[in-house]
Symmetry: C2
Subunit: 297 residues, 2 copies
């Protein structure tokens, strides 16, 4: 598909793209720019063909496909190099978890001659680093591509994601950021907040909670162990939708609190029962397995 593919930022996601691309023979040559020395030595072991770049300089002038998989807060600095050294033959894409901010960066900072097609593959884990990357990370996962006038370049990015396993869907940045605020960003913030609350409680009561965390807390602790830079970037960049989501959440929690305080049986049970519906739909749409979870072994 491509001659020279460059991955900028090669952690969990970048190294998974690298592994999948090599496996699917996406390019002739594979380049990686990754600033962590420790990560570089891990990446070398993935495949001897991979060429590690020390800088984003004239070396990138004949790259034809670049994927940004750093935290979004590094995009601006990277764009400076792309503007200097890249040509209009290259296609740029990214994996950022919010899209309105990236579109804004593209419009305000990227040379008009360069081609950036915004993507967001919905894949990941609570762990970070190239040692955790997997070639099949994207298998059957959604990849959102920002809606725009379709041309050969957009089609090529679409084909790329499909080749490494994704189901592709087009969406406006606005719609993307609204939907993922609720399905991903708010759940992560809530998990962080629950863990913070458990820590405060543990500190205040001097009790060992962790020992008994299998009853629910455990599942949230996994989500709340995710990378802090990545999530800071997401929360800040999707601020407007996050605040809307937090406010809806607070309103509902205050209502649950009232139900419990006043022992409002019928109101409470109706809400608890209602939650089951969404679970059934999630399983129907193959976003989770129906097999019940009895705790991990």
């Amino acid at each position: 598909m491509f001659n020279k593919l460059l991955i900028v930022g090669c952690g969990l996601i970048g190294s998974s793209i690298l592994r999948a691309s090599i496996k699917k023979k996406i390019a002739q040559k594979y380049f990686v720019y990754e600033k962590s020395i420790k990560n570089n030595s891990t990446i070398k072991k993935i495949n001897s063909k991979v060429i590690l770049l020390k800088k984003l300089d004239h070396n990138i002038s004949d790259i034809d496909f670049i994927i940004l998989s750093t935290p979004m807060s590094s995009y601006s600095r990277i764009i400076t190099s792309l503007n200097k050294f890249l040509t209009n033959k290259a296609i740029i894409t990214d994996v950022g978890s919010t899209k309105k901010n990236v579109l804004k960066l593209k419009k305000n900072e990227l040379n008009k001659s360069l081609n950036w097609i915004l993507s967001h593959p919905i894949a990941g884990s609570e762990v970070s680093g190239p040692e955790y990357g997997k070639a099949n990370l994207f298998k059957n996962r959604w990849c959102i591509i920002t809606k725009q006038k379709t041309d050969k370049k957009v089609e090529k990015v679409e084909r790329f994601w499909k080749k490494i396993g994704c189901k592709v869907i087009f969406m406006s940045p606005d719609e993307h950021d609204k939907i993922f605020a609720i399905t991903s960003h708010l759940p992560h913030l809530i998990a962080y907040n629950l863990i913070k609350t458990a820590q405060d409680f543990q500190h205040k009561e001097r009790k060992n909670l962790i020992k008994f965390s299998a009853g629910g807390l455990r599942d949230f602790s996994r989500t709340a162990a995710s990378n802090e830079i990545m999530w800071r970037d997401i929360f800040f960049n999707n601020k407007k939708n996050m605040l809307l989501g937090i406010n809806m959440f607070l309103k509902n929690l205050n209502s649950f609190k009232k139900n419990i305080e006043k022992l409002e049986d019928i109101k409470l049970r109706k809400k608890l029962l209602n939650s089951k519906k969404i679970r059934k739909e999630i399983i129907k749409l193959k976003q989770d397995v129906s097999e019940p979870d009895f705790g991990r072994k």
Copy 2:
């Protein structure tokens, strides 16, 4: 260990106790009292030895071990029958998820001559019903027994839980209810609240969220699919601790909201980073596996 064992309420937990007890030869004879006709036909298939009772009447007078595994809101009604028909040779235990309320019931409603030792095995799933029960549900799970003067009967209950796989720990009802408010009850309420929020958003924005729920929401939907009667009972019976937990949670969420609103980078990152510590502890204490979760297949 026992001659006649009776399980009152034979859903997920009751039928798992039944299966484990038969496997470990806990008793000579196994009795079940379960009010759902559908469940009774499932239970018959578990083992032909199981004797299904139609009523809690004179039939139970020579039972020597009774386990209550109905929702806690049924205990009071059951105690009336126990008072009428049970003798002091029997040991009663239960699996209720809160303990102060059960101790109060015992003190206020149970005949003084009868023996009730309060238990709480920390095991379960989001599914309900005897068809989901498993003999190894309790393997390596904590079982809390309410602290009291140790005698032969307490030791026997302890031996029982150990035989079917549990690690037993003694705790005061007060300590129990405080700890599980944070490790189990609050996480469940928060999961229900997040799903409610997603449903409200879906309704308001007429967007399909479910399709993209693998990014976080999915994990909460599992917890929020748990039995509504059981959880209503827990929230109401642990009201005081729930309200304390909700208030701590609200305070923290308002603080996170402020961090996002004002883009308070250092404060936010410090909190996100802090959450990782609890995760490491959870894994160290074998409450979860360290293997990262990349989404279920």
